[in-house]
Every structure is written in C-alpha cells, then in structure tokens.
C-alpha cells in the first residue's frame, strides 16, 4: 500500500527533509551469511557483452544522418567575449548549424575558467566541426584571473558563506591536552578521467526529445533538460544502457547535452556532442585542491580533548563546498571541536563530485595528524584510534543504525602486526613500513527508488528499473536479489535499466547509494510477484500449492505474466546510517631517490550485508587503485600566471598503470544492518578510496620518520619530507 512519508534524505553529506511516496517495507531481512544466490561471488551479468564489444555505450550510439558537434571554449581563465561572428564557421564545408551565447544553457560570454563553453558548431563529421571552430571570429577581452585560494578567502571570493561546526569548548579542550599537534596538509586537484568522455546524442522524434547520454542520473537529466528547454518531463526520454564511468562528474546534463539538443532541434538531425580527451582534462570537472590546518589535542593516554581545523577548498568557478572537515567531525568521539570551511571561488574549472568528495581529502589530513599525535605520545596508532572510537554520533547520543568499526580494527590486526616483519626487510637505501587509516562515509542510500518485475510461466524474470549501472555492477546485484527472492537461478533474471520511458524512477548514482537504494525496491517487487503467484497457485492447487515448484505454479499462467512492483522504504528515523572501514598499507621508500612503492594494501570495510562479494571486492580494488593515483602521481597542473591548464593529455596527467597497483587484500565484515531496509546493505563505491592516501603516508612515516604533508607524494615532496626529518633528528641530537 503506497503512502506518503516525510523522511531525511542524505546525498554525500547533504541532508534534507523530503516527502516521498513509498510502499511499506514489511519484508523481514534474510538471516546473515550467504544465501542460495545473495552473498556468493557472482560474475557480472553483462561482463561478456562488455568484453565482446556488444555493450552499447553512449559512445556507440550512431543514427543515420547524425551530425557531430564541437564546442568553442574559452582559452583563457578569465575573459569576456567582446565580439563573436559564427558566420565563417557556418559557411565551412559540412557545417549544418551553429549556436552561440544564450542559444543553449551554459553557453555564455563571461568566461570564468579555461574551457567555459561559448558557442558550438555541428557538421557532417567531427573533423569538419572542429575545423570550423577554428574559423569562428572571436575577440576576447582577457581579464586578470584569481587563482590563489588563500587570496580568494582573504578577498571574500567565496562560493558560499563559511561553514562552521562547533561542539563543547575547543579552547578548554586544548588547555586540557598533554600533547598538541599542529599541522598543515595540502591536497591537489585531480581529474575523474572516465574511460568514456562526457557525451550525449540528442534527437527529436516528433515532440519528444531523446537524450542518449553517459550519466549517473537518468532522471536528473530528464528533469533538468525538461526545465531548461521548457518541456513537460514526459517529452524527454533519457537513455543510458551502458556507462563508461563517471565517479561523480556526470550527475548533471552538462553543456554537451544542451548543445546537442539545441543543434538537433535547429537542424532536424540527430546530433552527437562528445568531449575530447583534452576537453575532459580541462572542462569536465575535478576534485578540488584543499589546504587543511589542524590543531589536535589529547591527554597522555591518547584521549582526544580538542579537534580544530581550518579548511580551504579551492572550488573553482563553480561547484559546492565538499565536507573536507567531515572525517574530523564524524570519525572520533571528541567532546570539543571547532572547524571552519571556506570554499574559494577562483578562475579555475568547476569542482564536481568525485568519489567521496571532501572525505578523501579530509581523511588524508586528519589521519596523518592523528599518527603524528600517536608518535608524539608514543602510542600505537591503532590503539589510539580504538581509544577514541565513537559509540554514537560524536557530540550527541544519536545512535548508528549499525557500526562494526571495532570489528574492522580487530580484523585489521593481523595486517597491522606484519609491520615488524615488513620493517625488518628494510635496507640501507630502501626503508619499509606499515601505516593505517580509518574511514567513515555515508552509503546508506534512501528513498525514493522503484522497481518492477515481470515473471512468466517459464519461471524467468525481468527486472525493470530506470536506474543506471555506472560500471559498479549494480545490475548484477539486483539480479541476484531478485533471483534469491523468487528462488530461481540468477541466469534466469534479465535486468532492463537506463531508459526513462521504459522503467520507473531510480536514484542518482552518487554517495554509494545505488545498490542500497534500488536493490531493496527490487526485492520488494520480487516479493510482490511471489505473493501474487502464490495466491494464484492456491486458486489452482488449494492447500497443496506449497508442494509444487515455482515453475509448476507458474505453469498455470499460460501466456499471462505476473507484474510485481516495489519501492525503497524509508531509512530508520532518528538514526545515523554510515559506513566504516580501515586500511593498512605497506610501502617501500627509496630514501635516495624519493621513490615510493606501495607494496600491499589490506582493506577491511563494513558496509552491511554484502550482496555480491566478487563485485564488492572489485569495487574495493578500483577504489584503492584510484586512491594510489591520487596519493602518488595524479595532479592537474596550472600555469600560475595565466590559469591555463597544463596537463591536458594522459601522458602529462599521470594516472596509475597496472604496474603501480599493489597487492590488494579485501575483507568485508558482511553483517547486515538490521535497521536498514529489507536487505541491510550499504554501498561500497566510495569507502575504499577514502583511507588510501593517509594509510600510505602513515606507512611512509613508519618507514622513514618523515612527515609527508602534501599530495601527490611526488619525488620532490618525499625528498623534502626526508630532508626535514633529517634536520629534525639533527636538532634533537644537538639538543641532547
């Protein structure tokens, strides 16, 4: 029975109260542990299609007569278009249409970052479109860019008012401390670099706009495009069959969708607008750089008495202020806390969400500072964390729906114990060590999401939900849930996703929320179908219905099909739903050349019930690899005078290669969250990337005594930290 409820909805740390239509989530959770299907390793149901090249990504969508668009972008970090003449481009060979500022959302004349879209051209071929772009007659008034985040804060150039957190009495807490660590950490700007660049193909079928797009939110694109083009939403059909990665950068339609839609309208032809790899490096969004200044106090037994932080996010021209302070506010039980977070508005490309935005950056600072505190107090870093474990939400008594961080610490112990043996393998030039870091993140998902399931007399089922599988394996997870509920093999479940015309609403794929949001709806739909089948079977077989197999029961259907529907129920009220974990890294540092090699990372994560252990470990591996890139080699570099982006290719912007991947050991706690939905599952997309940088940096300290203070830990940062440590020990020796 559908009803309207008022509930808290959280997306990546932003909470709001909303009214949502839900069905009762009256199903009992399955007992913990592996079931017939759920909880057992399952290869992706679309793996072969992907490997064989049969999967249709947006990049594979081609229609007869389709045109290709290219976007004119600002080559300057801050500039005004003084004059623009598109006529020479329109006259070029193959060109079918041009649009300029004001013709489509996001095209403008006031350019606040390099790559800001101004105009677009479409032509028979991409080559012709790009050649025509060069013919556009444009005069720029180049303005002085603002690039320095501290200067922006000083000048009041902010994305939003400063955000503060305060609990207890920070100053008193600091006065009570036996040891205080003051440390500043910096993190760099990194890029998502999805394998599939940002792109859309738009075509008009009568008065319906079809948008084929690489997106993390089919329904968000539908709504935003409808709003922007003043169309009823049901006149916008959004399709995303397969998706080549987004990592947070594809939550919104983007200028490429609006450009394709408008040029398709004007030309009457389908239009593709796809970013090139160079545009992807400039104009597709990024994880913002941060500066984090911590002041942390503790008693000699390690009990935290004060947590203080000032955070500056170098947001760029647009975006939001991610919770860099999140880990400090949420991870440890400390009564006294004070933080201020600034979002600097700069003439740099916008911040877009990137796999645990804020928490990846903030965990590096917090967990490194905590290890510096452990060193100062001569305490075991793992023990220090245990002593400050938060049993309920810090600063209050709001309970967690479930929390198994202590169990994570226990499971991490054997990996942590390896440090003696690892250190012993050091040589004169190569020092080895082990470090750890904790992780907190959201990941509970929430309503609304809906699913339908169709079951035929052949005992095969089709799950229909207009979610998107952004490459995380959600399609496989929901097939497993449906198979488990219906008692049929997972191979007999087909999953149809990614089409707003064909299926019901499903969540944005962000905040590790797709599986915990959609899978409970799928289970509810399967249970609804099962109930209907049982009722019908009782009409046919009476009291003997239970003696017949599902296939036999379904046999009475003939050509009819059962349609089950389900929705995601509400999250538990008055409870905080979070994911937790810990990672232990082993590194080797060449102290003469500054080379850092990550040799092993053990990841222990608590995300409730694990639906597909194989898919979950794959997510852990992906998160760790992306984290290793963030920690060691990736950095978007900018010319300090002009604000031009300098790293625009995959050889200049250095993502990790397979040779950079350490041994990865995944352990999942796999205890269902009894308060959360009919499954007790949380998401695992983001947690694994969060502690990587801090665990590596802490392992470096363990190996060398050097305090790394900036990401990426390039050779120069490593050699700087080593020289500083050497100087410190020389001074200490002199003092003695």
């Amino acid at each position: 029975m559908a009803r309207l409820i008022r509930t808290e909805k959280e997306v990546e740390g932003r909470n709001e109260e909303v009214w949502i239509v839900v069905d009762e989530d009256a199903l009992e959770q399955w007992p913990a542990g592996p079931r017939d299907v759920v909880g057992r390793p399952q290869a992706r149901n679309d793996g072969h299609a992907r490997a064989r090249g049969e999967a249709r990504y947006t990049a594979d969508v081609h229609f007869p007569g389709m045109l290709h668009a290219a976007v004119l972008r600002s080559p300057h970090a801050r500039a005004r278009v003084k004059r623009l003449d598109l006529a020479p481009a329109l006259a070029a060979p193959g060109v079918r249409g041009t649009i300029g500022p004001g013709d489509a959302p996001e095209l403008g004349t006031e350019c606040e970052y390099e790559g800001a879209p101004v105009a677009a051209v479409c032509a028979d071929s991409l080559g012709e479109a790009r050649a025509a772009l060069a013919l556009v007659d444009v005069e720029w008034e180049v303005l002085e860019p603002l690039l320095d985040p501290d200067e922006a804060v000083a000048r009041g150039s902010l994305i939003a008012p400063p955000r503060t957190h305060e609990r207890g009495d920070f100053e008193r807490g600091l006065a009570e401390a036996d040891a205080v660590v003051e440390a500043t950490f910096r993190t760099q700007t990194v890029l998502h670099n999805s394998m599939e660049t940002h792109q859309s193909v738009c075509r008009w079928e009568g008065d319906v706009l079809e948008v084929y797009t690489s997106t993390q939110y089919v329904w968000g694109v539908r709504q935003e495009v409808a709003d922007a083009l003043d169309l009823p939403p049901d006149k916008v059909r959004v399709v995303c069959d397969y998706m080549g990665g987004g990592f947070g950068s594809k939550n919104s339609p983007g200028e490429y969708t609006f450009v394709a839609a408008e040029l398709a309208r004007r030309t009457g032809r389908p239009v593709r607008c796809a970013l090139t790899r160079r545009e992807e490096h400039v104009a597709a969004g990024s994880r913002n750089a941060t500066t984090q200044r911590y002041t942390i106090g503790a008693r000699s037994d390690g009990t935290l008495t004060a947590l203080g932080g000032e955070f500056v996010n170098a947001v760029g021209a647009d975006g939001w202020v991610a919770m860099t302070e999140g880990p400090m506010v949420m991870l440890y039980d400390c009564p006294n806390l004070r933080s201020t977070t600034y979002g600097a508005k700069l003439n740099l490309p916008p911040t877009k969400a990137f796999r645990a935005p804020g928490f990846v950056e903030g965990t590096f600072g917090l967990e490194c500072a905590l290890d510096e505190l452990a060193a100062k107090l001569d305490l075991d870093p793992l023990e220090l964390r245990r002593r400050n474990h938060a049993h309920s939400e810090p600063g209050g008594d709001r309970p967690y729906s479930s929390k198994n961080l202590v169990e994570c610490y226990r499971r991490a112990e054997p990996h942590w114990e390896r440090r003696h043996e690892v250190r012993a393998r050091s040589t004169a030039t190569v020092k080895r060590g082990v470090g750890m870091a904790s992780q907190v993140w959201y990941g509970g998902g929430g309503p609304p999401s809906y699913a339908w399931i169709r079951v035929g007399s052949d005992a095969r089922a089709t799950v229909v939900t207009a979610m998107q599988d952004v490459g995380t394996g959600t399609k496989t997870a929901v097939a497993m849930v449906a198979a488990e509920e219906l008692g049929i093999p997972v191979e007999h479940v087909t999953v149809a996703v990614g089409d707003s015309l064909r299926g019901p609403y499903a969540t944005l794929s962000a905040g590790s929320s797709t599986t915990p949001s959609v899978a409970p709806a799928v289970r509810a739909a399967a249970a609804d179908a099962k109930r209907q089948i049982q009722e019908m079977a009782e009409q046919r077989y009476g009291a003997n219905a239970g003696k017949h197999s599902l296939r036999e029961l379904l046999g009475v259907l003939g050509n009819a099909q059962i349609l089950g529907t389900g929705s995601r129920g509400p999250n538990p009220t008055g409870m905080t739903v979070l994911t937790f974990g810990v990672q232990v890294a082993e590194v080797a540092v060449d102290v003469e050349t500054g080379e850092v090699t990550v040799e092993r990372i053990a990841a222990v994560h608590d995300v409730g019930r694990v639906i597909n252990p194989l898919g979950a470990s794959s997510q852990v591996e992906g998160g760790i690899i992306q984290g290793v890139g963030h920690t060691l080699s990736e950095a978007r570099l900018v010319d300090p005078a002009s604000g031009d982006i300098l790293t625009t290719t995959l050889d200049a912007y250095k993502m990790p290669t397979i040779a950079d991947v350490p041994e990865i050991v995944t352990e999942l706690i796999d205890i269902p969250d009894t308060q959360l939905t009919n499954l007790g599952s949380k998401g695992i997309g983001e947690p694994p990337i969060i502690p990587v940088a801090a665990a590596i940096a802490n392992a470096i300290r363990d190996a060398t005594g050097a305090d790394v203070r900036a990401l990426p830990i390039t050779r120069e940062e490593m050699l700087r930290a080593l020289a500083e440590a050497k100087e410190r020990s020389r001074e200490a020796a002199a003092a003695v």
């Binding site: 500054g594 080699s633 300098l646 050889d651 200049a652 290669t657």
Partner: protein
C-alpha cells in the same frame, strides 16, 4: 593530407617522413607539425639488428629483447613508453622526438617556438631541465638517446655519418632547433660499439609509461665510464663534469639529487 608510398628516400621532395607515427601523428593533430604530404618510410629504412648495427626502423619492442643489444640500450627501450607504443615506435623516430614541455606542447610562444621567453622558467616546471636551461628549460625526453650517447654510438643518415651526440644541438637565439638533422635527411642506421658493461637507470612518476624525471645511462670500456642523462637538459646530456655544476630551477632541484644517486648506482653497476 596525403600519404605517399615511396620507392626511394630520394623522392621525399618535402614530404614528412613517417614510420611508427607515435610522435608524428600526435604532433600533426595538435598542429605542432604541419605537412601536406606524409611519406611512409617503413619499407625504405633498414630495420634489422646485426651485431653492432641497428636499422633505424627497428622498433623499441624488437630492441628490448635482442641479446646483441647492449644492456643500457635494452633497458632504455624496456623502460620507455608502453608496450603498444614500443611495438610501433622506431629507434630512429625516438631519437627525433620533441620535448614534453607542456608550454611547448600547448603552443605557447616560447623560445623553442621562436618567441622571446621561456614560460617554464617562471611557471610550472617540475619536469624541466637542470643543465643548459637558461635560454630554454625544456627537458629532452628520450631514454634511448641518453643510452646511445653513453654507449658512444654513431648514426648514418641519407647524407652523412655522425656521433649520436652530434645529432643534437642546444637551441640558441639565432637557431631554435634541437637537432642538426636537415629537412629531407633521414636516419638510416646506428652503430653501437661494444662495451664492457652498461646500464640504464630511470626515475619516473609512476612505474611504467612515463618520460624520465631523470634517466642515467652508464657505459664502461676498460677503466673509462661514460655517463649520459635523459630528462635533465634540452638535449641528451653527456655528463662531462660534476652534477654539482647543475643549475636547477626552484622546482627542479630534486632532479639533481636523484641524478646524483642514480649516477652513483650506475657507476657501481658497471664497475
């Protein structure tokens, strides 16, 4: 743009020679190289490896596994680029690759492009030079060139024979080129004389598929050891004096430190 299949290198006639294309194609696409006509020289340039002689058309992938090739050159090939690029890229083309300086690659009006300033010197230059960097701070990216310079290799072109070292020249106000190769001149063959021991050590930002932060090649004949460095100057750098003579920029001092360590390791490795 046309692609010609020539029967003789004498027919080049202003066409741009192309072999593996791993450097030429990206430069053409970026507009850093202009040509109306390309000439596929793959069939016209020797590509075999026989004793000390190496055809300029030999791919890096062929060189990295050939036991006739001195260790420094094999290692330089193995540590260069990615397997896909090494399967396509030839040793002749590798010697002629342009700097990875982002300002040059983004077509800034820098000195190498004929302009009047080096943007890297005041700008972002962590990948740049520590020697001969006053006029232009770009770093030469070829691992292979450093190995060949250390090994004392010579090369023959369609017009002359010369030490590999003399293929390169530092850019100057009146001539911004970094090689002495003339238009229409094609490298045909290399001669890599035997050495008693050689090695190539490379520091990079990730473990594979990165240009050198610093590459150090060392080759020993008797008691004489020659060192040549990649990634430290606008050309492959024969280390004549001491690394203390380096003139690093604010952001490249770390390279001098790494170079010192690698030179000592290379010295020990060939001893």
């Amino acid at each position: 743009m046309k692609l010609l299949q020539l029967s003789s290198l004498r027919d080049l006639d202003g066409a741009l020679p192309i072999a593996g294309g791993t450097e030429v194609v990206p430069l053409l696409r970026q507009g850093l190289l202009e040509a109306d006509t390309l000439a596929d020289i793959t069939a016209l340039v020797p590509r075999g490896i026989e004793g000390s002689r190496i055809g300029a058309g030999a791919t890096l992938a062929e060189l990295e596994v050939d036991p006739q090739v001195p260790a420094a050159l094999r290692e330089a090939c193995r540590l260069a680029a990615s397997p896909q690029l090494r399967n396509m890229g030839t040793i002749g083309g590798n010697l002629l690759q342009a700097t990875r300086c982002w300002y040059w690659r983004l077509a800034y009006p820098c000195r190498l492009h004929g302009g009047d300033r080096c943007h890297a010197r005041d700008g972002e230059h962590r990948e740049h030079a520590i020697f001969a960097n006053d006029f232009c701070a770009s770093a030469h990216p070829s691992d292979i060139a450093a190995a060949l310079v250390a090994l004392g290799a010579t090369l023959s072109t369609t017009r002359r024979e010369l030490p590999v070292r003399e293929l390169y020249r530092l850019p100057s106000p009146d001539d911004r080129r970094t090689t002495t190769l003339e238009r229409g001149e094609v490298i045909l063959e290399l001669d890599v004389p035997p050495v008693d021991a050689s090695v190539y050590l490379k520091a990079m930002d990730r473990r594979r598929w990165a240009f050198p932060i610093v590459g150090v090649a060392a080759a020993r004949r008797g008691v004489e050891t020659t060192f040549a460095l990649a990634g430290v100057a606008p050309v492959p750098w024969l280390l004549a004096g001491s690394l203390d003579d380096a003139t690093p920029l604010a952001g490249t001092a770390y390279k001098a430190q790494i170079a010192k360590a690698l030179v000592e390791r290379a010295r020990a490795a060939v001893a």
